[in-house]
């Protein structure tokens, strides 16, 4: 098997993109079959066709295996409270996403946004822009800390390992990151304008963009705080 690995060094390296359990079980066989396949081809065109097929197959198949692996972990290993709270956090962000989509659709269909509708007025605006994302972030963080310090018995490892265990906490990390992003943009909406309005200009004129940021009310309030 060592010979085959040295025969296909790049392919062997790429096989590391598969989840570990799958790789341990099938890597040798995949390499052996690839070697058989190539040994059976007589000309360069066929060899090229075979490698093309493998190259097209690899990313799609790797994604399928990774999803299957993560899905399997989610179903069999992830504690129920973590799954439930991830789902609730995600659902709490749904109004924000729906409002943004509705605004976009309204712009496309009627030519104007929903800025004058009840959705963009207090208290509705505060609910979907501030309270619900804050609740989602709070719930995700609380669940994350609970998972880190509590030993559920199913996944029994030191707390530090559990804290960086993305295999289990990714479902919490996604809504938490989105909620944090929303709250950050809301909190620093005037500072964000300096970067978001013309990102290319902001990158090429970093000093100007930074000066613009430091002059905003939100940034000054933050530094005072």
């Amino acid at each position: 098997m060592k010979n085959i690995r040295s025969r296909f060094p790049v392919y062997t390296t790429l096989l590391h993109l598969y989840p570990k359990p799958y790789r341990e079980r099938y890597e040798d066989e995949i390499l052996q079959t690839t070697a058989d396949l190539l040994d059976d081809t007589t000309n360069t065109v066929d060899k090229f066709a075979t490698w093309s097929r493998i190259a097209i197959d690899l990313p799609a198949n790797m994604c399928r295996q990774q999803l299957r692996y993560v899905g399997g972990i989610m179903i069999n290993e992830t504690p129920n409270y973590l799954k439930r709270n991830s789902l609730v956090s995600g659902l709490l962000l749904l109004p924000f996403i729906l409002a943004i989509v509705a605004n976009g659709l309204s712009k496309v269909i009627t030519g104007q946004g929903l800025y004058h509708s009840w959705l963009w007025r207090l208290p509705a605006l505060c609910i979907w822009v501030l309270y619900l994302p804050a609740l989602a972030l709070g719930l995700a963080l609380a669940t994350y800390f609970t998972y880190t310090v509590r030993d559920t018995g199913k996944v029994c490892r030191p707390w530090l390992q559990r804290a960086i265990d993305l295999k289990h906490v990714w479902s919490l990390a996604v809504p938490a990151a989105i909620a944090f992003g929303i709250l950050f943009l809301v909190g620093f909406h005037d500072s964000a304008q300096c970067w978001v309005q013309n990102p290319a200009h902001a990158v090429t004129h970093l000093h100007q963009a930074w000066q613009c940021t430091t002059n905003t009310q939100s940034f000054q309030a933050f530094t005072r705080f």
Partner: protein, 112 residues
């Protein structure tokens, strides 16, 4: 009441068909599946072993020791045979239905 059966994906069905003749290793399965499809199916190793893994997990095929110790051989399990027969029965019924409709089409004299 009969249980509803989801049809197997084309690749999984081809693997079961290839193993219905004799136990085989991965490359033999690949070659047989290509031959059975008259060259229409080309399977890449990654897809082959993903399908093999799925069939193993479902208990339709199992690993056995073969002549060549470097390779793993696979054979159909009892459950695998039952599943293959159920699939073939379904295709058989579909063929009968298609032939009947063809006959009906000829009788009434227009395309359905």
């Amino acid at each position: 009441m009969k249980r509803r059966m989801a049809l197997l994906p084309q690749l999984s069905f081809s693997i079961l068909m290839a193993l219905s003749l004799k136990p085989r290793h991965g490359y033999e399965i690949m070659k047989q599946a290509e031959e059975d499809s008259l060259g229409k199916i080309h399977i890449a190793p990654g897809s082959l072993y993903t399908a093999i893994q799925q069939l193993s997990d479902e208990g339709l095929i199992e690993e056995i020791e073969g002549e060549d110790k470097r390779r793993r051989y696979y054979k159909l399990t009892k459950k695998g045979w039952e599943r293959l027969n159920a699939e073939l029965e379904y295709f058989d019924n579909t063929m009968k239905l298609a032939k009947q409709r063809k006959a009906f089409e000829a009788m009434v004299g227009f395309d359905i």
